[in-house]
């Protein structure tokens, strides 16, 4: 929405080494029982201090204490995103996210931003395929004010038509900035459109221009009333607060909101595809060709779950920076690329994407690079991860588990991303253990499963004059 501190993105990257947050949605809320206090004996498990509870109106709350500085991260996730839009209404979820800052019956346009700024806080929101997240990073003393306003706009949104019309222009500028004038984003979008035949992940979250132009305030209100309710939301409070304090405050501000009937989530399927495709995007902006490759991969809610942890390690071993197999082979040894990396993010409701991105060396064509990548993937499939490879990767994962306890913000966003994808909070607790138990045979199996699937290749090319 507004400027977003880049640290959030960095947090997500460093946590699980994924760069494409394709995000996610929940099919059915995890039915965690009343106050659940996990064990606190393991210092390496930050999440052991996390408590969770559910209000009578269905709002799920997670409290993650961190008393290092007097700050709080307040994150509210609505389990509604762009996949919930109907035909002809793309961009609606994101438009609504913008309008959520335009005032309610009780608070005027801009009041929310103003109060947070006055207290030295940061706030922002973002829309994904599966959910929409609103967050504030504030001093503890401002928490009650922020919670009051956040709770108020869950049901009380009330914007005027001129604000709606003006915001349409702002959103179209955002679309130009982040999609139309950004060739990498545009290529990625076109590749997703080819990768997913049926699944709504094929659409751009920001929407088609034609749809955005036709959206009306009524469209937004309909979506808002349908999905913005306590029983379709998850609240995460992290920082200088105890679960008891949080519970009292949450009951006061969110407790009175009535639950509503949330339409059953549509489950989208994605049929098997049989052909590889090549997407070529030429642009006068491009001064250096680039290559991308997407595969459909399993997620916690889709496909072969046994492959997930092995694939996380595969993404490290294959394309985790300079220690990765592809970098070693194609940059160092064969000198065919300047850079190459692999990315995998399993935090989505629907199918996930396993991506490879590369920049060819000068005088190497995209076709030559692609051929070389395929050769190296084939040799990777014959390669068995050595004990050193596994030890290194697992040590790194466990160290990251300690690093992410430093900031009150880090775990908050991790929880939000996971819970919004309908993944059990135990995921975080068990992550280290699950990674540690992966064997080289499983890695080999998962990599073979993945690379035998159809794929989409993308070429970003200079505009030939």
């Amino acid at each position: 929405m507004q400027k977003l501190p880049a640290f959030i993105f960095i947090i997500l990257i460093t946590m699980f080494h994924v760069k494409h947050c394709i995000a996610s949605e929940i099919v059915d809320a995890p039915k965690t029982s009343i106050l659940k206090n996990a064990k606190i004996d393991d210092a390496k498990n930050p999440q052991s201090k996390t408590s969770s509870f559910i209000l009578e109106n269905g709002l799920e709350i997670y409290v993650i204490p961190n008393h290092k500085i007097p700050a709080i991260a307040h994150l509210l996730v609505y389990k509604a995103g762009s996949i919930d839009e109907n035909f002809g209404k793309t961009g609606l979820a994101h438009y609504l996210e913008h309008m959520m800052f335009k005032g309610t019956e009780k608070f005027s346009d801009g009041a929310y931003s103003h109060i947070i700024a006055e207290n030295g806080g940061q706030h922002n929101a973002y829309t994904t395929y599966d959910y929409t997240l609103y967050f504030a990073l504030i001093q503890k003393s401002a928490l009650a004010k922020v919670m009051k306003m956040e709770a108020d706009r869950m049901r009380g949104l009330n914007f005027d038509i001129s604000a709606f019309d003006n915001e349409k222009k702002v959103i179209l500028e955002e679309r130009r900035l982040r999609l139309i004038d950004d060739p990498n984003a545009l290529l990625s979008q076109q590749m997703k459109q080819a990768l997913f035949i049926e699944h709504p992940y094929r659409r751009a979250i920001i929407g088609y221009e034609e749809d955005i132009l036709n959206l009306s305030p009524d469209d937004l209100y309909e979506f808002y009333h349908k999905y913005y309710a306590p029983n379709n939301a998850i609240l995460i409070i992290a920082g200088d607060i105890t679960p008891e304090e949080a519970k009292q405050m949450v009951e006061k501000y969110y407790g009175e909101i009535e639950k509503s009937s949330i339409p059953e989530k549509k489950i989208f399927f994605e049929p098997k595809s049989f052909a590889n495709q090549l997407i070529k995007l030429t642009s006068s902006q491009i001064s250096k060709p680039q290559f991308a490759r997407y595969y459909i991969a399993p997620s916690q809610n889709f496909g072969k779950k046994d492959d997930i942890y092995p694939l996380i390690i595969t993404s490290y071993l294959l394309g985790g920076g300079k220690s990765g197999f592809l970098y070693q082979k194609l940059v160092e040894e064969r000198k065919m690329a300047i850079d190459i990396s692999a990315e995998y993010n399993d935090f989505v409701v629907g199918p996930a994407i396993f991506a490879i991105n590369a920049i060819p060396a000068p005088d190497i064509s995209l076709e030559e690079l692609e051929k070389a990548i395929d050769e190296e993937i084939a040799s990777f499939l014959k390669y068995n991860a050595s004990p050193e490879d596994l030890k290194r990767t697992k040590y790194l994962v466990n160290a990251n588990n300690i690093y992410r306890q430093e900031s009150y913000k880090t775990l908050a966003f991790t929880y939000a991303t996971i819970l919004a994808a309908g993944i059990s909070p135990d995921y975080i607790q068990d992550f280290g253990k699950n990674i540690s138990s992966v064997t080289s045979v499983q890695i080999n199996q998962a990599a073979n499963d993945l690379f035998s699937l159809h794929y989409i290749s993308g070429y970003l090319m200079e505009h030939k004059k």
């Binding site: 880049a6 290092k68 700024a117 500028e173 306890q405």
Partner: protein, 434 residues
Amino acid sequence: MKYITMFLLLLIPFNIASAAYPKVNELNTRYGYNIWYMEDKSLPIISFRMAFKKAGYAYDKKEKEGLAYFASMLLYEGYNGKNSVAFAKELDEKAISIEFKIDADNFYIEVKSLTENFDDAVQIVAKQLLSPNLSAETIAKIKQNIIVQQELSKQDPVKIGMDKLNAQFFGDNPLGNHMLGSKGSINSIDEADIKDYFASHLSNRTKLVMAASGDINPEKISAKIDEYFGKFSLIKENQADIPDFTAESYKISYINKDLAQSTIIFAFEGVKRQDDEFYAMLILNHIFGGGGFESRLVSELREKYGLAYGVSTGVNLYQDGSMIIGYLATKNEDAEKALAKTKEVIRDFAENPVTEEELALAKNYLTKSFPLMLDKNEDLSEILLNMQLYQLNSEFLNSRDLYINQVSNEEVEKLAAKILDPEKMQIVIIGNKK
């Protein structure tokens, strides 16, 4: 969808802490090294930073432009006997992160590790600085990489605009050097140039400033610094300062690109970090375009006219000066209108002086937001490093609120009249003029 651009990161004003912080400690090693640090034993993590002063890109000779950046890239290639892949694996095995960065003024090293691997981390850095990987193959690889980065930077309207603006703003002053150099200058760099750079900057303790935060054991860290950095030279070179610069009069440049939006970048000369007016400048920037929805530019251009999604200003700080730099992007047809509105906002500071409410809001934000940003050890070590680079005393963190709160409306107004001078505005527009 998230709005993330690195540009905004660059625009975050440099300002230094407030409220109750851990104590700033100073340790002096037997060999005479000095380190500022903060202790936090809650987690087994250490963040350690080094800066080598006057080693940034503004000190590159014109014909070797890009040399400082070259050196920073070379360090990622390991050290003598460890190539980049072996080096990356060595770091991964111990979950150590070592980053090398430069700006116009200085060269920076950022180290982060678990306590149990901190000795190894410091030892690795020393090996890198004292015996870098200078194989012909590595040098050729870095040349190629930087030339590709130069090409990639030509696809990003913000980078194109920033390059042009820097050149326009600083003219012949070395602050206008291009960090990445040119294809010609990068190709001209040879092993002797790199050796010379390492010898005169990166293993020279007269240039070194250090800071740390986290699970620090002062005795242990002292001993390790002496052990590993003991071989650094003590030769004080008479390095010339960067000459003072004075902003040119009004100039506007157009760069034609086939884009849907025009990106407008503009700048004004700011005051120095050491000047009394520095805090008034932070406040002015906040009111002008640094304060998000509360700023005059956002409320006018985005909220009132829907001209832009992203519009903001920030302070770029140099050792001996600063600039206030602004950014906005709007559809090509609206570029002229958006620029005219921006100029109106600037001129309006004379008509509509800063209100009490604006001043209070800016002060509140600047004082209260800062501690919230300092929750990680690397944030704290960065502040400690910057305090030394800008010669602030160790009590500074507790005085910062006071410095901000002392600023009056008149001071902000006076400064606005002085620096937001439309006659001295420097503008670059990148977009499709048709």
